[in-house]
């Protein structure tokens, strides 16, 4: 699909994942994040998903930390390694406080940024959430997005019952096919833009990782060149061997000869090969 379609799925409905991005709904506070965690675990690793947080009052640090634990799923929706979280809240203060806590909790786990999208059911803007039974409205909106020149386009649809995703996907696929037939060049261009965007994201990720690895190697070389390891080895040698009396060391040389580890002649002659291996 040319447009990313996020399906908001309430707890209790099993996500269907074909050609869709489930946005697992969590009402905070209240909903059990562990149950949602298990639902997410059951998804196929090849299917991306994200969270849709419906914030109705103050959330706690623990709730924020539990939300961040979802970002560790390999199939959690991220772009440039930045996790996406969809948000809804009636109260602005609760929303802002929730956002602050989420960002703090995410930063504490190594996510310096979050992609937070606030959605508003019934809104007429791009942030609206459609309901799955409003099929004609959804189709009209999808066609509008297809004809829209904007590169970043997404759609959000609330699922009401099992089977909704399949039904909506079929309708949207039909719209897309019609668009392809009516405007083949525009369709091909949009497809190419989407592919190129993905390639650019991958290359940015690769470049960042390569830079980090170079920095790691520089530091590793610095450590290897420092004297710390040679000092440690020397200290070990001194403590384990050098401190022993001379007669004991010489006895050890004889044992090496008897056990075949050292040549007999090397006991008397420095110009002879000492060790056999």
């Amino acid at each position: 699909m040319l447009i990313d379609v996020f399906y908001v799925i309430p707890q209790g409905i099993q996500p269907e994942t074909a050609e869709s991005i489930p946005a697992l709904e969590l009402n905070l506070p209240g909903d059990n994040t562990t149950a949602c965690f298990k639902t997410a675990t059951a998804l196929s690793v090849s299917n991306q998903f994200c969270l849709y947080l419906n914030i109705s009052s103050t959330i706690t640090h623990e709730m924020a930390r539990d939300i961040v634990s979802f970002f560790f799923f390999g199939n959690y929706y991220k772009q440039q390694a930045i996790p996406l979280v969809l948000l809804q809240a009636a109260n602005e203060n609760d929303l802002q406080a929730g956002i602050d806590l989420l960002q703090q909790a995410a930063k504490a786990q190594g996510y310096s940024q979050l992609n937070l999208r606030r959605l508003k059911p019934g809104d007429k803007e791009a942030s609206t959430v459609y309901t799955a039974n409003d099929l004609s409205l959804i189709q009209k909106a999808y066609t509008g997005l297809l004809n829209n020149a904007a590169i970043e386009n997404a759609m959000y649809i609330k699922v009401l019952q099992p089977g909704d995703i399949m039904a909506v996907n079929q309708a949207l696929a039909a719209e897309e096919m019609q668009f392809q037939q009516q405007s083949p060049l525009l369709y091909a261009l949009k497809q190419q833009v989407k592919q190129l965007q993905q390639q650019v994201l991958h290359l940015q990720q690769l470049s960042g990782a390569a830079q980090q690895e170079i920095s790691n190697q520089v530091e590793h070389n610095h450590i290897l060149r420092s004297s710390s390891h040679s000092n440690a080895l020397q200290n070990y040698y001194n403590n384990e061997y050098e401190v022993l009396p001379l007669w004991y060391k010489r006895l050890g040389h004889l044992i090496k000869v008897f056990t075949g580890k050292r040549t007999f002649r090397s006991l008397f002659n420095d110009n002879v090969k000492k060790y056999k291996s």
């Binding site: 690793v45 634990s69 390999g74 390694a81 786990q109 960042g208 530091e219 450590i223 390891h229």
Partner: protein, 246 residues
């Protein structure tokens, strides 16, 4: 002694080669197992690897849980992510096996070190390891060459003995070991109930939030990450359990 409860293998991966590691576990593990596998998302090696997806059905594997974390706290941070997942999923095991794809590129003897650490995952040692756990006092089993005592760690002075860092952490988490034995390299089998009890009251991700980001080393001074290399063992020995070697 027959064991039907799967062991939980926590594996943290930075250097890729996922398929090879999966085959290693399938070939070596003799008991049924859960595999909790964490890969570092920003690792150059993982981004450039091909065939990253696990496509094979693994013999003996009862459940595969795949995570992808940021590089925070190195392998310790990765294992804490997996501990969090283990608890949230309600998995139950008698033993947890902690492993990671250790390279230690800044150590001059890293290959031998890795070989010594990994013997605990090899087939020939597993029966012996389970027998050691038949002794109820055994809390951890590791490669004998990996068992160290912090008192003998001349390189680090007293960094993990009486520095304010280690004292604060021990106080904060109620860890007071009778001695300072630990497993260097953080690869060992542990009696799962001990970790379940500790991490149920001390959330793994809370601990992880205190670890340093990136490929941290403790050459310049003690770090929280390296302190936890000790504390993960000391939380076991402070409950009266012992570390045994194979």
């Amino acid at each position: 002694m027959e064991k039907t409860t799967p062991i939980s293998v926590f594996f943290h991966n930075y250097y890729g080669n996922d398929q090879e590691w999966m085959r290693f576990f399938a070939n070596e593990l003799t008991l049924p197992w859960y595999l909790l596998y964490n890969g570092v998302a920003g690792s150059y090696y993982r981004i450039t690897q091909t065939n990253a997806m696990f496509t094979e059905q693994l013999s003996g594997c009862r459940q595969l849980v795949v995570k992808q974390s940021t590089n925070q706290g190195k392998d310790i941070g990765g294992k804490l992510v997996l501990m969090d997942a283990y608890l949230k999923l309600g998995l139950k095991s008698d033993y947890i096996l902690l492993l990671h794809d250790k390279h230690s590129p800044y150590h001059s003897h890293s290959k031998q070190w890795k070989k010594d650490l990994f013997r605990i995952a090899e087939k020939e040692f597993q029966q012996k390891i389970i027998e050691l756990f038949n002794n109820p006092q055994t809390g951890i089993v590791a490669s004998e060459k990996a068992i160290r005592n912090e008192l003998d760690n001349e390189q680090k002075s007293n960094a993990y003995i009486d520095s304010s860092l280690i004292k604060n952490l021990k106080n904060k988490y109620g860890i007071d070991p009778p001695g300072l034995q630990y497993v260097a390299g953080t690869m060992f089998w542990v009696r799962a109930s001990l970790f379940e009890d500790f991490f149920s009251t001390n959330p793994p991700l809370q601990i992880r939030s205190e670890l340093e980001p990136g490929n941290i080393t403790d050459v310049e001074g003690p770090t929280t990450t390296h302190a936890w290399e000790r504390l993960l063992c000391w939380l076991v020995t402070s409950k009266g359990y012992q570390i045994k070697g194979v």
